[in-house]
Symmetry: C2
Subunit: 190 residues, 2 copies
């Protein structure tokens, strides 16, 4: 029997997540906690006005540098009412994308590791912002969203309360809902 | 002389931003503060495992519903080491994109409104995360990034300190660095 024909341990997949690999990953981090340290990175270039473009490539994780087959790249712009050319979603809209994506993936992964089947997930998000903060017209008004609402519709037998609890393991939910030290430095040249 | 040939008030553009329109926008919000109330939206659909897709379309702002010529759409996924198919950047990487884009646009707009010329901007971002929080392996470790660093390189005559100050009007900087109420609800069906 050739190696290629050897029966493999069947991957047990729940919600499209390989829960055998998931359990192995968790075991590995339990034994070597430093494997849990990840660093993600982005670079961005301004293209004029409200338009700019980010590139996302390799990262550090699971104890080593992790390469991507090719970098991901996407723009951000502003709509005309915010003086842009509307060539891409704007930065605060990308926050909603990140939040939706992260709550969904987190809920799905945690459900998978508990054997909870999920058939479909969709979500709607709203973020309220008063641009008197951003524009500097008022220092009484915060600059970012003052409220964000996420409604997830999930096809599953699990109780809604449990699914909310699982979704809230989400890193982006933590990043957005809690404070976080962000160090911003500028280096100028002429 | 046909209307089409009438000389128009020349748009005064600084950093690619129409500062005449910017000043008019600020005046309008000063006179009618309710014009500053914006609501951005996203919807997301799970595609299996770590893969999902968001759509960003219209929003509310400047006192009315604002349509887009066509919706923007982008996916999120996870790399193989996080059990995904690596078809797109992951949610926490999109946070870095949103942050880079917002700091850049905010600095450029605020500089434009002050007559400060900026020639080029590029940035590098790093976000540190320990996935023992996300995975639930430790409740002593936060789930999201614990530190984010942003290095902006700016070609300008303005002092770096002033540019940092302008960049920090950024809504996404506020969203990420400060806490914010995020309401998550789940509705289940079978």
């Amino acid at each position: 029997m050739h190696a290629q024909q050897m029966p493999q341990n069947a991957a047990t997949t729940v919600n499209g997540v390989d829960v055998t690999a998931l359990a192995e990953t968790l075991d590995a981090i339990r034994q070597q906690p430093q494997l849990g340290a990840f660093q993600f990175r982005a670079s961005n270039t301004w293209l004029g006005g409200g338009l700019n473009r980010s590139t996302i490539d390799g990262f550090h994780g699971a104890g080593q540098e992790q390469a991507r087959p090719k970098p991901f790249s996407f723009s951000a712009d502003e709509p005309p009412v915010l003086l842009g050319g509307d060539k891409a979603a704007n930065p605060v809209e990308f926050v909603l994308h990140a939040l939706a994506a992260c709550l969904t993936t987190t809920m799905v992964y945690h459900a998978a590791s508990r054997g909870i089947a999920i058939k479909t997930v969709s979500s709607e998000l709203e973020g309220d912002i008063d641009i008197r903060g951003f524009t500097g017209l008022s220092d009484q008004v915060r600059k970012g969203y003052h409220h964000v609402r996420v409604k997830l519709r999930v096809e599953s037998d699990a109780p809604a309360e449990q699914l909310v609890e699982l979704a809230k393991f989400s890193p982006v939910y933590d990043i957005v809902s809690n404070s976080l030290p962000v160090e911003v430095t500028v280096e100028t040249h002429r």
